[in-house]
């Protein structure tokens, strides 16, 4: 690779801060509302999805408090149905799916490519407003009749029987779907066409490989959700009868359509998380990532395999034996690329000089929790055990380990990791670490007991239970409260840093990817010249500099001008 060597006696230290950055370069409401800057759009997403997460979290808290004791505490069964539905729908559609790609990805992806923006900035803004409209429809749902179908909108209940606001909610999800498609399209084209000189596919940071796999799934799976929901709306309003057995339709067809999207969607949620973790593990092990190509290819293979396993959601919905066998077998194979990633991260840690900063704590938490979530997924992929475990708390615990323990932890890790870059401020490392450990303990206490009660027969989505399960539910509720405390401390830590935090250096962690070469926070145009890309995991290229309290390119690796 082209590398410009500079004489030792004239070291050029890259600029750490600029007076004019993307946050203060223009002022006023419209300068944000009409911005085409990917970083501002990313920050607006971050605010939006954080509020959604808070809303979904309140619903979660309500569920757990209701289940603290047998019998009904403070809501009736119908309200309970609404609360768990809204918890699921808000968390899935408004938070987890857009979380990492739209909020973190928007800020980081063009920076990692040394590009000035994503390929289609207007489309990017359009995605954001679609997300906002979708969120508005959810608020509308909330203030009209609510929603009690479960986040899956299964027919014919959703079309013919419920009197809740299915149309508003599904129209909202439809918009969120197109928001997701446009984000994916934008990222796909950006990664293809905007790579800097020197960045071949095999020099692409693993975060971008993960986003690439995610983009493929967003593009190919989400439109199927779109048409499914459109048909659902037609069914509800006009009664066209496609999904309604009363009218000669087939409700299982709805389930096929829905899971054809929603299973890839599970990977739309987890693949970006894996992408974030790959970056964090390498950066905080101060070591080249182990098995770069295997991690990269496993992202793409997960993306492709994700389209072939939707049937495992319907093992007990009248699927033929042959189909269940095939879907079960393909489901097992997804464990291979997932395990490849976990083992490669482990191997990266091995003999690395591991630094337990806050992002790393979340990444290590991710490895534990995702492994548990992934392995318990195999119990559900086995046909005979799935018949027993289907629709129990075992399933609830499994997907919370993957989605909360996996995606949420990786999102939080990524948020801490890129926070200095996004905001230009350092947060308090101590309280960040305390929050991370608290969240980890709270999470396990909340969801591990659910595996046990699920395997003992506690069905999911029930508002009440027999006294046998009381201990587990109490542990779970206690864990939720601890998790809530951890998250509150996290929010406090980050928000406080905005006002009292130290100025962040350009590269606080010693990562070798390109986004750390521009000042924190980046200027409006990111880079004056596209930087030359080399190996993104060559940690030897940067060294600690006492004066800037961060890492700078090692002598001999410094570019002539920045």
């Amino acid at each position: 690779m082209t590398q410009v060597d500079i004489p030792v006696e004239s070291p050029v230290r890259p600029v750490q801060h600029l007076d004019k950055n993307f946050i203060n370069h223009s002022k006023g409401f419209l300068s944000w509302a009409l911005t085409l800057d990917h970083k501002r759009i990313g920050l607006m997403y971050l605010v939006g999805i954080s509020l959604s997460f808070f809303l979904g979290g309140l619903f979660a808290l309500a569920i757990r408090l209701e289940l603290f004791s047998p019998g009904m505490q403070f809501m009736d069964a119908a309200t309970y149905n609404q609360v768990f539905t809204l918890h699921g729908a808000v968390m899935v559609f408004l938070f987890i799916i857009p979380g990492i790609p739209a909020a973190l990805g928007n800020v980081v992806l063009p920076l990692m490519l040394g590009a000035k923006d994503v390929a289609f900035p207007r489309l990017n803004l359009c995605s954001y407003y679609l997300w906002l409209s979708g969120a508005a429809f959810f608020i509308w749902t909330l203030f009209s009749n609510g929603l009690d179908t479960g986040w899956t909108f299964y027919t014919p209940y959703s079309t013919s029987y419920t009197d809740t606001s299915v149309i508003q909610a599904t129209a909202g999800v439809f918009m969120l779907g197109f928001s997701s498609i446009f984000t994916g399209l934008n990222f796909l084209v950006t990664i293809h066409k905007m790579r800097p000189p020197g960045m071949t596919w095999h020099k692409l940071p693993l975060f971008l490989w993960g986003m690439y796999g995610t983009a493929i799934m967003q593009l190919l799976a989400t439109p199927v959700l779109g048409i499914t929901l459109l048909l659902l709306i037609m069914e509800t309003t006009l009664g066209i009868g496609i999904f309604d057995p009363q009218k000669g339709g087939d409700p299982v067809l709805y389930q096929h359509f829905f899971w054809f999207y929603s299973h890839p969607a599970v990977y739309i949620m987890i693949l970006p998380a894996m992408a974030v973790v790959s970056e964090i593990i390498a950066a905080f092990s101060r070591k080249h990532i182990f098995g770069y190509r295997m991690i990269a290819y496993s992202s793409v293979s997960i993306a492709l395999l994700s389209f072939l396993v939707w049937g495992h959601h319907m093992f007990v919905s009248s699927e033929s034996t042959l189909a269940t066998l095939i879907f079960s077998a393909i489901t097992f194979t997804i464990a291979i690329p997932s395990a490849i990633k976990v083992f490669n991260w482990l191997a990266t840690l091995y003999k690395g000089s591991v630094q337990l900063d806050t992002p790393m704590l979340y990444a290590l938490g991710f490895m534990w929790l995702f492994t548990i979530g992934g392995l318990t997924g195999l119990f559900l992929a086995v046909l005979s055990t799935d018949v027993v475990l289907h629709d129990t708390y075992f399933v609830v615990a499994h997907f919370h380990y993957v989605m909360v323990g996996g995606t949420l932890f990786a999102f939080l890790g990524g948020l801490h990791y890129w926070w200095p870059k996004m905001t230009g401020k350092m947060y308090s490392e101590t309280s960040g670490r305390i929050a991370a450990v608290t969240a980890f303990i709270g999470f396990n206490l909340a969801f591990f007991p659910q595996f046990i009660m699920g395997s003992r027969g506690m069905p999911r989505r029930y508002a009440d239970y027999t006294a046998d399960f009381e201990l587990y539910h109490r542990l779970s509720t206690t864990g939720t409260l601890i998790l809530g405390v951890g998250l509150a401390l996290l929010a406090y830590t980050l928000l406080r840093s905005l006002f009292g935090g130290k100025k962040a250096p350009a590269n606080p962690w010693g990562s070798a990817t390109i986004e750390w070469e521009c000042p924190s926070p980046p200027p409006h145009h990111n880079f004056d010249h596209p930087p030359l890309a080399t190996d993104p995991y060559d940690m030897e290229r940067v060294e600690w500099d006492e004066e800037v309290q961060g890492y700078v390119p090692a002598v001999g690796h410094r570019p002539t001008a920045h």
Binding site: V189, G226, I240, H525
Partner: protein, 287 residues
């Protein structure tokens, strides 16, 4: 816009691209990716079509008689012609022929309006006959064919005795090839004749025809209106996009180095055309 997105001398080159080629290539990849998305968007409907046609072949064969093949064929021709002018418009833009570009874009838009006009006639005719999608479906007499027009696909609802002779003269009538649903139907029809003497009443309106048989026809029209309706929405979007490009063409925005938007819109238009080319035989030409 708060951000200056543009290069001084090249007004339509966005700041984050190196040159026009870079911008064009990115746009091209983007539109192709979008078209893949569109195909998958329609795939749900095609999938539903395949499943219900496999489940109720007789319903599809029969109900497609209600569709006007002539109008469908004209619309197919209109769209194919508009695809030609769209492609021609791209060539005009590449060569910097402003007048040609304006003319070809205008013809494309006119064809799109023509298509929607014919679609409007078809839809209003269907609604007139009570062939609504979903619960409002209430087929009136003659909805599935009108002998006076001498249409080869016509099916007359006659008493069983007459039907036998009709079968001899019209062997193409697939609906009278004794499968269960139809035997059931014929039986019910006979009852209707015996009990109430509703000879003129179409069986799909006959109170004696079991709901199970009637409602299957609704599904055909549910799918028909969803597929052609969604396609129609795409045509409308195409009109908006092409209309916007026409105003830009009149203002002289397009040059041999900057014609991406015309190219991308034309690709979209070809896809809309292509989807219709599949819809036409699948819905209209079943017999």
């Amino acid at each position: 816009m708060s951000d200056a997105h543009g290069h001084g001398d090249k007004p339509f080159l966005a700041h984050h691209f190196e040159d026009e080629d870079h911008q064009f290539d990115s746009g091209k990849l983007g539109i192709w990716a979008f078209l893949v998305t569109e195909i998958l968007f329609f795939s749900g409907l095609f999938c539903a079509y395949v499943i219900y046609r496999a489940m109720h072949p007789e319903v599809f064969t029969f109900a497609s008689n209600a569709l006007d093949t002539q109008m469908g064929a004209i619309n197919t021709g209109v769209l194919i012609f508009s695809s030609l002018t769209a492609a021609w418009a791209v060539r005009n833009a590449q060569l910097g022929q402003k007048t040609g570009l304006i003319v070809n874009l205008s013809i494309t838009i006119l064809c799109a309006f023509g298509f929607m006009g014919i679609k409007y006639l078809e839809y209003s005719h269907k609604f007139h006959l009570g062939l609504f999608p979903g619960d409002k479906y209430e087929a009136k007499e003659g909805a599935y064919g009108d002998e006076s027009k001498g249409n080869a696909n016509t099916v007359a609802f006659t008493s069983p005795e007459e039907e036998e002779s009709a079968e001899e003269t019209e062997p193409g009538v697939a609906f009278s090839r004794g499968d269960t649903a139809e035997a059931e139907l014929a039986e019910q029809e006979a009852h209707g004749d015996d009990g109430h003497g509703h000879e003129e009443l179409a069986p799909w309106n006959d109170p004696n025809v079991p709901e199970a048989t009637k409602r299957k026809l609704k599904i055909f029209f549910g799918i028909y209106f969803c597929m052609t309706g969604l396609h129609g929405i795409h045509v409308l979007i195409g009109i908006l996009v092409l209309g916007w490009l026409l105003t830009r063409a009149i203002r002289g925005h397009f040059t041999p180095t900057y014609y991406g938007p015309i190219d991308f819109a034309a690709l979209y238009w070809h896809l809309v055309d292509l989807i219709w080319i599949y819809l036409f035989p699948l819905l209209y030409l079943i017999n």
